[in-house]
């Protein structure tokens, strides 16, 4: 059972455009939602993360939008650059209590930003 569903599987954007990647989750106990960026030949690295007490978090060109009622969150990359071309993974975890558990990852989105 896939608890975090990610879309699209691949995305092609022109330089300067906006890249949007979406994730939906099922388990309402999730309380930590990070996004990871992975370049070929490297391990994933944390890009930005949000907790459910806020609806949006922005760090530079990267923004997470979070909709608790819809159980969805998305990554927006403004002014996309060729250097942003990578695979992006959303994830979710439960941080405390008897149900605490490690990150559950989405299936990944391969982003290509054309020059």
């Amino acid at each position: 059972q896939q608890q975090v569903k990610q879309s699209p599987q691949s995305l092609i954007v022109q330089k300067g455009g906006i890249s949007i990647i979406n994730c939906a989750y099922e388990n309402t106990a999730f309380d930590y939602f990070p996004w990871y960026q992975q370049f070929p030949g490297k391990g994933p690295a944390l890009l930005i993360a949000i907790r459910p007490d806020v609806s949006e978090k922005k760090e530079g060109r990267f923004t997470i939008s979070f909709n608790k009622s819809a159980k969805q969150f998305s990554l927006h990359i403004m002014d996309s650059q060729p250097g942003d071309s990578a695979t992006y993974f959303c994830a979710a975890s439960i941080s405390s209590g008897g149900s605490a558990r490690q990150l559950t990852f989405g299936s990944g989105t391969q982003l290509t930003v054309l020059p």
Binding site: Y36, P44, S93
Partner: protein, 112 residues
């Protein structure tokens, strides 16, 4: 740069051989993980550890085994490698379930 290291980076080995993939971290993290990933594809959790002497199987069934005798060390062993084990293996660690997970660069395993 994250202080988590995997060796070897690349390994080509024959069917039936025993192999151990090494993973070490110097951040003092209690939680460590092994993921299996085909290039650019989904991350599948195969093992994790809460701390010394605690290991659990992940969501994806794996014929590999792990041990956690020291906080900083979390090796993965395949007793008899098969071509179906060909994949990339990523090790990670974190201080908690809701803190940044740091990944190693991975071991690309090819079983011929």
């Amino acid at each position: 740069e994250a202080d988590i290291y995997q060796t070897p980076r690349y390994l080509v080995i024959g069917t039936g051989k025993k192999i151990t993939l090494e993973c070490s971290q110097t951040m003092g993290h209690d939680k460590m993980y092994w993921y299996q990933q085909d290039p650019g594809m989904e991350l599948h959790l195969i093992h994790y550890s809460y701390g010394v002497n605690s290991t659990e199987k992940g969501d994806l069934s794996s014929e590999s085994t792990v041990s956690r005798i020291r906080t900083e060390h979390f090796p993965l062993t395949l007793e008899s490698a098969r071509p179906s084990h060909t994949s990339q293996y990523l090790c990670a660690s974190s201080a908690g379930w809701n803190t940044e997970a740091f990944f190693g660069q991975g071991t690309r395993l090819t079983v011929v």
